[in-house]
């Protein structure tokens, strides 16, 4: 291993060179862009496609982009969707079957479509969630998922340290942010006139060397530290990093009914959650029946079908579905992965139509059940 480079300075004008070098190295570059009034990850070639001077404003059930007049490209804190879809695709073919003239069925693997992708913009909460997805999809015990594994192998991650927190952020309390510590190839902090850039892997170091930059000076490093400190100002927090026993002991808490009276069981929270891993499988035959594909699609524990088996729906109402989601995320994960499944990104709060705030619900659930008058 070569000696790690000191943090370098990437002038704003040279950011295009970073994009070009990634392309030159054979990566498809994916970065943040404004589409339909939201910041999404999409293929990017030119810095002019980046969200210039755009801030995101979040509140429970609310998301709004505003122009702040700055020259920054990363003044936003969280995209509606993290980097999960780059690895765990929302919909993909697991295998194909054909039926020949004799009626014999044949099975085939799909072609490997794992592109070499470089993603720019991942935040600390996304990286922590990525680590959990890695554990789930790559663990030996579970049999590594070949589709996830191939994409993961080809993914180059350029993380961005947050320089502001939005109203729904709470990664400080889960211990996952706002600063990126590991799980990236390159990490950058945006300054007024450029970026402090550092590597987190051999590949990342090679790329930085290709850019032929100079060491960041004291002033630049202190500007980075100051800007990073802004992101620690967070409005929300989880009551504790381990609520396993508390939640499993609160299964009959009256608050579940209260939540169920507001929850639409729409599944938005699970769709934006960077750690949720459920998927359903179904067969999709062609009209003539000669070929059929076995597809997997993201699923949600808020659907009726999730707990369905031969005529019985185990979780037939919203109360049981919300309880399943929350007890899995904040209790079951401790047994499965040695930590909670929440990395504090706050997306489930922002994208919940009635604005249910899990941090608030957890706080209520962690208090002893209040005696009801009618009890």
């Amino acid at each position: 291993m070569t000696l790690p480079l000191a943090p370098q300075f990437l002038p704003r004008e040279q950011f295009q060179q970073l994009l070009d070098t990634l392309h030159h190295n054979g990566h498809k570059v994916v970065g943040p862009q404004v589409r339909d009034d939201a910041i999404v990850y999409a293929p990017i070639k030119n810095t002019s496609e980046l969200p210039l001077g755009i801030e995101d404003h979040h509140a429970p059930g609310s998301y709004l982009l505003k122009d702040n007049g700055s020259q920054h490209w990363f003044d936003w804190a969280s995209t509606p969707q993290g980097i999960k879809p780059l690895l765990f695709k929302p919909r993909e073919t697991l295998w194909r079957a054909t039926r020949d003239a004799t009626g014999t069925v044949h099975f085939k693997d799909p072609e490997n479509d794992a592109e070499k992708i470089a993603v720019i913009g991942a935040r600390a909460c996304d990286l922590a969630a990525l680590n959990l997805q890695d554990q789930h999809f790559l663990s030996i015990e579970n049999t590594p998922d070949p589709f996830y594994a191939a994409r993961r192998h080809n993914l180059f991650i350029i993380a961005i340290n947050c320089t502001r927190a939005v109203d729904t952020c709470f990664c400080s309390s889960t211990g996952d942010g706002p600063k990126c510590h590991d799980g990236f190839d390159i990490v950058m902090t945006e300054l007024e006139h450029g970026f402090v850039i550092a590597s987190g892997s051999q590949q990342g170091q090679q790329l930085i060397k290709q850019l032929a930059l100079t060491d960041a000076d004291e002033k630049q490093l202190s500007e980075a530290t100051q800007r990073e400190a802004n992101a620690t100002q967070q409005q929300r927090s989880v009551p504790s990093q381990n609520m396993r026993d508390m939640l499993f002991n609160a299964l009959d808490h009256p608050q579940w009914d209260d939540i169920a009276s507001r929850c639409l069981s729409c599944g938005n929270c699970t769709a934006v959650c960077p750690s949720c891993f459920c998927y359903s499988e179904h067969a999709e035959p062609t009209l003539d029946g000669s070929i059929t594909e076995q597809l997997r699609e993201w699923d949600s524990c808020f659907t009726q079908g999730h707990s369905y088996m031969h005529g019985i729906t185990v979780r037939h109402d919203t109360r049981l579905r919300y309880r399943q989601w929350l007890t899995h995320k904040f209790a079951g994960w401790h047994d499965q992965f040695g930590r909670s499944g929440c990395t504090g990104c706050g997306r489930c709060i922002t994208w919940c139509p009635p604005g249910i705030d899990i941090t608030q619900e957890l706080a209520i659930l962690s208090k002893p059940e209040e005696k009801r008058d009618d009890a």
Binding site: N142, T292, S307
Partner: protein
């Protein structure tokens, strides 16, 4: 591409046997000789059976593990996939992958008295246990079989039960919620027969059936001083991937497809009393 654990393998329907009105058994063998030779399973484990263009279902293997080349799957036609599978004929080619999950504690049961409790429309997972024990009778103590059904016609394999009654050191208790002139056994619930059982201190219990029934039986067994870790039950949940990945079969932190389907009661006790997991 690295090994794709999702993809089924070709299997042939060697024989299809109609067991009762809606219950049938498929005897399957892998087409690929290497698959066939390397395949091993334990009682209580299951396979994913795939019907072309329709989908997969988790079905437990009921045949004896000493012959892993021919795999019997007893299936009730209840849903989209199983209704389609019920139309298969001898010689048809389908998809098969497995075995999955943890089966019954047959090694732990050796030398002990075994109580097998089932409910509902004939419970294939525990029939594999009964078959296993009757084939190796000297390795186990007393075998007690309790089976409850709603109606006498729901009892599949009546001839087998009648045969088991005559096995050495074996007792069989049958109960139907409603009797009929052809039903010589108890009319009522299975638990009403518990007092007729003589339970030794060294008893291991294996059960399968509706969760409500299992809850009541566990309560009765605990009252009779059977320890929690000597009671095993086979759980059922929605299974799609069978690899501990898709998330549907989670029961608390356990994935029923890989941590189960057979659990000892003390493993799942904290959540078993709560509906919705």
């Amino acid at each position: 591409m690295m090994h794709n654990p999702h993809r089924p393998h070709q299997a042939r329907v060697v024989e299809r046997v109609q067991e009762s009105g809606s219950v049938f058994t498929l005897r399957l063998e892998f087409l690929d000789s290497e698959m066939r030779d390397n395949y091993r399973f334990a009682p209580g484990q299951f396979n994913m059976v795939y019907l072309y263009g329709v989908g997969e279902v988790a079905i437990s293997i009921v045949s004896d593990p000493k012959d892993p080349k021919l795999l019997d799957h007893t299936i009730r036609a209840v849903g989209r996939v199983t209704n389609g599978i019920s139309q298969l004929k001898d010689g048809d080619i389908i998809g098969l992958r497995g075995p999955y999950g943890r089966g019954w504690p047959m090694l732990e049961a050796e030398g002990r008295d075994v109580v097998v409790i089932t409910g509902g429309l004939g419970c294939a997972p525990v029939v594999s246990v009964i078959n296993y024990i009757t084939q190796r009778r000297e390795q186990f103590g007393k075998l007690t079989i309790l089976q409850g059904v709603k109606l006498p016609k729901d009892l599949i394999w009546r001839d087998r039960f009648e045969r088991w009654i005559n096995e050495p050191n074996t007792e069989v208790f049958l109960a139907a919620d409603k009797g009929d002139p052809d039903w010589p056994w108890h009319v009522g619930l299975v638990i009403e027969l518990f007092d007729q059982m003589k339970l030794s201190e060294d008893t291991i219990v294996m059960m399968c059936g509706p969760e409500g029934m299992m809850r009541v039986c566990i309560h009765e067994l605990l009252l009779r001083d059977i320890p929690e870790d000597a009671i095993y039950l086979s759980m059922e949940r929605n299974m799609q991937c069978a690899l501990g990945q898709c998330g549907h079969c989670q029961f608390g932190a356990d994935f029923v497809c890989k941590d189960g389907p057979v659990f000892s009661y003390d493993q799942i006790k904290p959540l078993f009393a709560h509906k919705g997991f």
